[in-house]
Each structure stands twice: as C-alpha cells, then as structure tokens.
Amino acid sequence: MRLARYIGYRLVTALPVIFGIIVLNFLLIHLAPGDAASVLAGESGAATPEYMEELRHKFGLDQSLGMQFLTYVSNMAHFNLGYSYRNDADVSGLILERLGPTSLLMLTAFGTALALGIILGLLAATGRNSWRDNIISVISLVAYATPGFWLGLMMIVIFSIGLGWLPTSGFDTVGSGHQGWAEVWDIGRHLVMPAVSLALFYLALYARLMRASILEQTGMDYVTTARAKGQTERRIITGHVLRNALLPVVTLAGVQAGNLIGGSIVVETVFGWPGIGTLAFNALQSRDLNLLLAIFFISACLVVIINLAVDVIYVLLDPRMEI
C-alpha cells in the first residue's frame, strides 16, 4: 500500500518535470540555424521563393515562435505527436514502426549483456586472480575498448562475406514471404550480429562493475560475521553478498536503460537496422522538428519511468532503504 502511494506520488511529481523537458527541448531545437524548408529545397537542387514560402507555410514555420509553441503544447495535451512534413506521415506512425525493431534489438542486447555481465563478474570475483578471473578480465577489457562499428564490420566480413552464415544487414529478408517460425528464424538470423556488437560493450561494463562490487562487499564486516557463523562460501555469496553487490549494477543499468529508446545510431547504421536512433539523427539533420521533439518526449518519459523502477528495485533488494 505504501509502495503504491509512493509510486503515485512520484508519477504526479514527474508531470512538471516532463513539462519542463518539453519546453526546454522546444527552445533548444529552435536555436539550431536553418529550417526544414531549406533542407528540402536544398536536396531538390532548386526552388522558387514562392515555393519555399508555401513549404514554410505548410510546415507552420511562418508563425511566431510563441504561436508554434502553443500549437505544439496543445497538440501534446491531446496526445497528438504531430505530423512530419518531410516524411509526409504522422509522427506517431513513424515512431511506432521503429519501436518494434528498436525494442527487439535493445532488449536482446541489454538483457544478454546484463545477465551475462552479472554471471561473468561473479565468476571472476569468486575466483579472484585465478585463470578464470584473468580470462574474463582480458575479454571484458578488449570488448570495452573495441569500437562497436569496427566490431560490426569485422563480423560482416567474417560471417557474411567469408562464411556466408548470416545476412549482412536489414531486419528480415524482404519479399521472402516467410510466415510463423520461419519468419522468427529469419529475423533471428538478422538480429545476431547487431545484438552481439551492441551487447559486448555493455557486457564488459557490467562484468567489470560486478566483479569490483563483489570484491568490495566481501571485505565487509558482515561477511566476516557470516563466515564466523560457519556459513559456506557459496551461501555467503548468494545469501549476503550478491544482493548488496547488485545495487551499483542496477544503478548503472537504470541510467543506461534510458538509452534504450534512443537506440544505437552506430549499430543501426552499420547493419541497416530500422531503429529509432537513425530516425532521430535524420530528423535532426533535416530539421524535422515535430519528429525530433516527439522522440525526445518519449525518451524523457521513459527515463522518468525507469528511474522510478530502479528506485523500487532498490527497495526490493535492500529492505533498509526508506521510501
């Protein structure tokens, strides 16, 4: 009951934060020079001033900044994310299209990285300075230091061009007409390389953090006490150390989960994955403000929700925490 009230309270206080973010985003974005009409005309190679005026009128760029802001806020209040004139499509549709592939890629990569990272960190810490620890440390250092795009390209060279096992890019085989499990298998084959190249970086991060965190906890008094009570090392780690050691990892994962919706521009670009990262990047390049603002807005909401979730997980992990 107390928890439910706390969550409700946090959600209500989040509203002004989100409103502040909307205002700030809107103002920041309008500081960037150039507008969508000139980019569109620039790509066409020619245009008349009348045509550019008509474009600006159509885009609503001929109104004062205040009017544009009011229109924008009133749209948002009606849960209307607006229209992308550049793409001749509704913003919500454009984002929804990308949401599936983005979540699939990010959740796969993030979930794998978190689970494997925690396990590897645990293995490394419990066998401190053994061969096991050394191998895991070296691998995570290399994975942490390798640029994602390079790793991606090398995988393409080896697994697509060299061995011919996996497709180079895309979300599925276009026009193959796969259905049911055949389609799942097809998408899975396309998912492997982008997910791996994205996961490796996070995996290294969590493994290193987990290892350090466990080692720090094992030096604590409560561990000595547990040992004095005659508990086995295994019981000490799983029963006492693990929960405490997870706290920093959850904190970091919470911060990074905010990036989920943003996708990864680099990995999406290399593997031609239809994610939100490239959508946002192209929107910025072409000054497609409605689309860009909508992506910012959704990201902001997600960050607020994930922060709340992390705080709740804290409580579950560590009953000493007050809410």
């Binding site: 150039g34 507008d35 000139s38 061009i161």
Partner: protein
Amino acid sequence: MVDFPPLNKISRRSALALPLGLAASTISNNFVKADEPVRGGTMVMIVQPEPSTLAHYAVTAGNIPPIATQIYEGLVTYDWDQNPQPNLAKSWEIAPDGKSITFKLREDVFFHNGASFTSADVQFSFMEILKKYHPFAPLLLAELTGVDTPDATTAILRLANPAPYLMKALAGRDLPIMCKSVFEGTQILQNPSANKPIGTGPFKFGQWDRGQFVRLDRNEKYWKPGLPYLDHIIARFIPDAATRSAALETGEAHFAGYSAVNYADLARMKTNPILDTTMKGYEMTPALSVLELNAKHPPLDKKEVRQAIAYAIDRKVILRDVMYGYGQPATGPLSKLFKTVGFYTDDVRNYDVPDRLDIANKLLDGAGLPRGANGMRFGIHLEVNSFGEQWLRQAEYLKQALAIVGIDLTLRSEDTATWLRRVYTNYDYDINEPFLSQGVDPVYGLNKQYLTSQIRKGVTFVNDSFYSNPEFDNILNEAMREQDHDKRAALYKKAQQILAEDCPLVWLIDVQYVSVFNRKLHDHTTGPLGTQQAFERAWLEK
C-alpha cells in the same frame, strides 16, 4: 570486364543443379539464357540515402527517381543519342514557330488505379502539378502557358516563346505524368499518393517500410506487352557504405547505381567474380564539382584573384586522390557530356597549364596582395560540403594547394541545414564547395547558376556568387529561345568563353557515377537515363 568461357559457366551451374536431379534441363536452359530474358524474380537494388518522400513531382532529390521512375512515366523516353523516343506519346510535332508542341497519346494505357490515361491527365499534370510545384518549373516550364486537349488522345503544349530544351526534359525522371483523378480537388502537396504513388509505369507501388525498403510489384496490365520481366523490385536502404558493399558481395543486392558504393571500394568490387561495374547510364546526368566564390567578399571581387585560385588548383590531384580516378578534370562551366549534343566547348581560357603556379602568383601580385611575413597574402574561409566525406578530403587538398600561392584557407564544417542557411540566405561565406547537377540542357545548369536574375536570397543552389554580366545575360536569354541548333551551339560557346574568363566559379571535376551490379542481372542499363528510368527490361538469371 572478365568474360567467363561458356564451358566454365555450364560446369559451375550443373554442379549446383545436380543434387536436384535437374542437371540436363538446367544446362540446356543455360545456353538460352545468356541472351534470352527470363520472366520472374525479385531484383534488389540499393538506393542511398533513403528518400524522405516519393512525391517525385514536387521534390527532385536524386534518390527519388530510381524508385519513382518505375512508377511514373513521361511522354517520351530517350535513345543512346539522346533523341526522344515514343513512350506515353506515340508521336509529336513541333510547330514551325516553336510555340506549340502537339502530342498524340497512346490509347491503351491505364494507371495503376485502373483509370485510363488521357490528354486530361497530361493537362492536369503539367498545369496543376508540375508548373506549380516542380522545383525546376521556373526553368523548364517558364514558357508554358497552357495545355489544350482537343480530344482524349491529343495534348498540345502552348508556349509563350520557343523552348527547345523542353524536348530534352520529357522523360519520367524530369516531367512525370500523374493521374488527374487522384489529385483533382485535393491539396497537391498534401495528397496521400505522395508516398503511395500511382502512375502508368511497369511497376506498382507495393509497400514502404521506413528505414528498410520500398517494394514495387509487377504491373500485370502494363501497356508494353510481355513487360516487365521482373516480379518485384526491392529498393533497400543501408546507411553504412561498407555494409552496402558487403550486401553486393554476398549477392543479397543486385544493383547499386549513382555511386552508392564508395569509390574506394570499387577496385575490390571489380575483382569479385559475381559482380561487374559500368559507367553507362549517366549520359543525361551531367554534374560538376565546383567552388563558388563570393564576389561580395574582397578580395574575391577581383577577377584576377578568382582566376589565380582557378590556376592554383591541380584538378588531376583531386581526380586521383579524392575521386579515385572516376571523372575528368573540368575545363569550364559545362560538363563534357554536353559534347554529344554539341553544346560543349573546350575552346575557353585554360587553367590547367604547366606554368599555372607562376601565373597565379603573378595575378595575385598584380592584384596588390603581396605575401606577408608568414608567406601568406590573405586568409579566407571554405564552407565544406556536408553531403559526404569526400568533400572534406577535397577541402583538405584545396587548403594545401592554395597555401602554395599564399592564400590561407580555413575550413568550416557544419551540418546541412546550417550550411545551406549560411551560404544561400545569409551569404556569410567566402568560398563554397557545392556539387552542381547540370540537368538535360545548358538552360538548366547555366541559367540558374549565372544569370543576374537568379541572385535570389534564401533559394538554394542558384546564383549565390553575385555574378552579373549583362552581355552574358543577353546571350543566355537568346540561346534559351533559339530554335536553330547550330546558332544555339554558337551562343553557348560564347557564353562558356565569357564565364571562363570572368571566373565566377572554379570548375573542378566533371563527375562520373558508377553502377555496380550482379552478373546475374541483365539489361539493367538500357538508355542514357540509366538508373533513373524504368527497369522494365531488366531480368535475372534463375
């Protein structure tokens, strides 16, 4: 260009076919298929970057036509000599005074929505869509006053003055024909068919998954009997250049035009046995890379200084190190591709002479710009083109080349929107590094870039160097309406000579695009418009 001996071809194929127990029939098919088209199959082409819209009639970005010209057709098409050939129009006649063109249209053509194609569609397309919204209309359709439709199969274009260039611009790429009933009574720019185009072409729009692909489906009722051969065309969008190359190398994609493959990767592509390259299909797509010099910013207002910059640059270095040898050094304001139609001349001031550095130094000394203590005469900024990495490499070379004659160049890189705003609206630049498409006729490339009337604040890719020469203006305006080809050519020759002398721009490279294709794909490049015309005859070996 490696030709495999036929024997080799058979053995490789039959080896593959044997497990299926089809060896005999496969071999006999193989003998035929080298020149006999096969029906069916899905061709995957790479289009880079992904278009933002398919509103081909209102946006002319170069990545739209490879998709849109499969769907929208023009009144005519062009043979390799760039002569118009019948397409939606069966025949045409230009009036002796040049002020009207009468088109006889085909009767057996249907749009993808089932509506039959008539002169009303031509009238509506030209007057209500293209004339009002096409970015090139102020150049190509300036003289068009109306379209008469005495009957369903006759359309007469009425012109205020002769417009000889118009007959070069009637392909689906430049002036497409849309369906009247789709657009009538709607806001043209908001029409839902923008991204679900409806035309008369060999392929119908199927599906667009943004960020991934556009699928086009065979038009079963296409008016050319038996065509197209392919069942589907998939246009795929892969943002990373290295991955694009990889997709071709693995056979996932069959075709990549318009230099979608990096010049740096082409050497590797050529050694791949399943791939080949061609430079054909770009004959009606001339383009120059240039430097625009802002004549409002001293010392660039002095002709001698502009000429000195033109002399100081070694175009062969740019060609070798930036363009990987694809293209030719530009000699003047028109692309060499205009040689085919007789408008190009190299009889102009030559900036590529052995003693060019001495000349440049003398010109700068003469302009009252002596070298300072650090060896530099003056410093200016170069706005780096934001459309790709090669422009930064070119800018880096330019900095070195101009330093030799004592000009200190500072490079400035900004994103596209900021760059366009700075150069074409604020005019806050010294040297700009654009890439100029020259269209199908000198009218297009010359008029918008050099006429005094084309100094138009806020409009991109027009006269932003403030070049203004009344004598030159008169020549261009005369050439625009001159019906006699030889007289027209003489006028353009004079125009090129004046420009080369005044040097408002520095012309660098006559660009050559390259297509990479899978050897299984045949008849993909069947005319001078190349990738920007329909793949109706393209076919894939099974």
